[in-house]
């Protein structure tokens, strides 16, 4: 189903060191257009480091990395125009309203004013939050904040969206709704690159990679991974890899 022309992220021999500590040890993988790519690993396995490099927040120590067809060393700004990002840290301004947050982020992506207006109204309608639109983020429940943060991250219609632990700390129902949003955006052609340590979420991805101590130990579709390891749950795959 995949061929080379469809690669949207290409990582070859990515290494990131902090002093003596190797956070990313020679990573190589591809992500294809339109897929939901799960990036799994325990806390401290190096997921966040890798996602920061891919989204242009930090420099790799070495390796060849192309994101959306651009080089992370030289074409950082072109990459930034093509991606969206949502971190585990909460990223909307609590003292701005829902509408103001959307306007702000859309504004700094350089979207035309009319378009911002129209799309904001569409989004608010789509999420069914008309009565919340003029409330401060601080007054919204956490689940809604996360959903909004995601909507803001893909508001400028990026080619890829990076989600760093987007569902940590939210209840199961919100997590379910959140994943529905991810599916919908994938259907619209946005590639989703998501890190998580919830193993059940891995089942929702098209392909998953499992990282242990800075290295990718396994990369395949969830079904094939389970087959290869002879287990019923991705969680068990993970446990097997971690105990190795």
């Amino acid at each position: 189903m995949n061929n080379n022309n469809n690669k949207i992220i290409e990582v070859r021999n990515l290494v990131k060191r902090f002093g003596n500590f190797v956070a990313n040890d020679n990573l190589s993988f591809d992500v294809y257009k339109g897929e939901i790519f799960g990036f799994l690993g325990a806390n401290g396995a190096g997921k966040t480091t890798a996602i920061k490099i891919l989204s242009g927040l930090s420099y790799p120590s070495s390796g060849k990395i192309m994101v959306a067809g651009y080089d992370v060393y030289k074409q950082r700004n072109k990459i930034k125009r093509s991606i969206g990002y949502m971190s585990q840290k909460f990223s909307l301004y609590e003292d701005l309203t829902v509408r103001e947050n959307i306007h702000f982020y859309a504004g700094i992506y350089g979207l035309p004013f009319k378009q911002i207006q129209n799309r904001t109204n569409e989004l608010i309608e789509e999420l069914g939050i008309q009565e919340m639109a003029n409330k401060m983020i601080a007054d919204l429940p956490l689940g809604w904040r996360q959903k909004l943060a995601f909507s803001v991250a893909i508001f400028h219609k990026p080619k890829i969206v990076f989600l760093d632990e987007p569902t940590s700390g939210v209840d199961p129902i919100t997590r379910r709704q959140f994943w529905d949003m991810i599916y919908r955006s994938a259907e619209k052609g946005i590639t989703v690159f998501v890190t998580t340590h919830y193993m059940d979420e891995a089942e929702y991805c098209d392909r998953v990679s499992i990282m242990v101590d800075g290295k990718i130990e396994a990369l395949d579709t969830p079904t094939k991974l389970k087959e290869n390891f002879g287990v019923n749950l991705i969680e068990d795959v993970f446990i097997k890899l971690a105990r190795k």
């Binding site: 991606i83 990002y85 990223s91 701005l96 103001e100």
Partner: protein, 372 residues
Amino acid sequence: MRVIYYILQKEFKQIFRNRIMLPIIFVIPFVQTIVFVYAATLELKNADISIMDYDKSSLSKRLISDFEASPFFEVSKIVPNNNAVSDLLLKDKAKAVILIPQGFEKDVLSLDGAAIQININAIDGQSAGLINVYIQQIVNSLAIKYLSSDINVQINTIPANAEIRSRFWYNPGLNFKYYILPGILVILVTMMGTFLTALNLVREKEMGTIEQINVTPIKKWQFITGKLLPFWIIGIIVMGFGLLIGRLLYNMPFEGSISLFFLATAIYLILAIGLGLLVSDYANTQQQVMFLLFFFFLVFVLMSGIFTSEESMPDWAQAVNRINPIYYFMKIIRAILLKGAELKNILTEMISMTVYSILVMVFAVWKYRKTH
């Protein structure tokens, strides 16, 4: 340009919604100018003094009424008792105790000379010095009056004499308020520029929103301009506000040109804000910002000549002041406000301050990293 507009819009909204920022910006100038100016006074008035009159002559009574007429003193007459002196001073019941000795009038009339004993609580050395000077002035003027009217007949030669007249330019009333007010304006603008900028930037770090901004295609200069411009504007407004309070409440002199005044303010704010940006490059929490700035601010303000002018500082301190950003602005603002200095009079300071501003700003911007 449109990108900057969005940042500006956001910043102003946040500032005006912040329940801490807003009072800082508009209440503190008021409180500072009012409390500081009234409290920061070294002018002596109504100091409590006690007088023990062992002589009880007409001359000693005249001396006492001279003290009573003085605006500097609040006189209480005490029954003469030598032990009372230390008690009065120990219990802080009097700042000074004056003893008029027995035979005072007699000794003066006979031209033998009489000595008045003055005991001053000198823990506050500066006030003590002033009290001493004012007491001597009263005593001397009595001596001269007495001499010229009553005893002069006895002296035949014309004494060599010169009349000394003092004129105090720029501040004829020696009003300390006029000195301290420009200093307070400087503190205000520095706080607005440096503290608010640094806190605001580090807050975005703490909240994590800075990352969200860093993954957007926004350019470094756009972000920094959008972040800093509001504080530059607020700084200038606060300066105008403070100046207005100074004019309305204290009738503070404004001798120089208003455009030069605001030009200097605008340049200095670049320096102040640049320092804020620089601090935020290094600090990770607001607590660190506060302590770091608090320390340097304290040193810089005290050394800048807020209470005493630079001339009375030792040479090494004057040398250290070359790297004190507040020092230049303090000097310029005082010169413009109080002396009506023109650009040519303060050219050196203006150029130094401008160069300093550019250096700090360039360095701080260069240090600022979107990518780590």
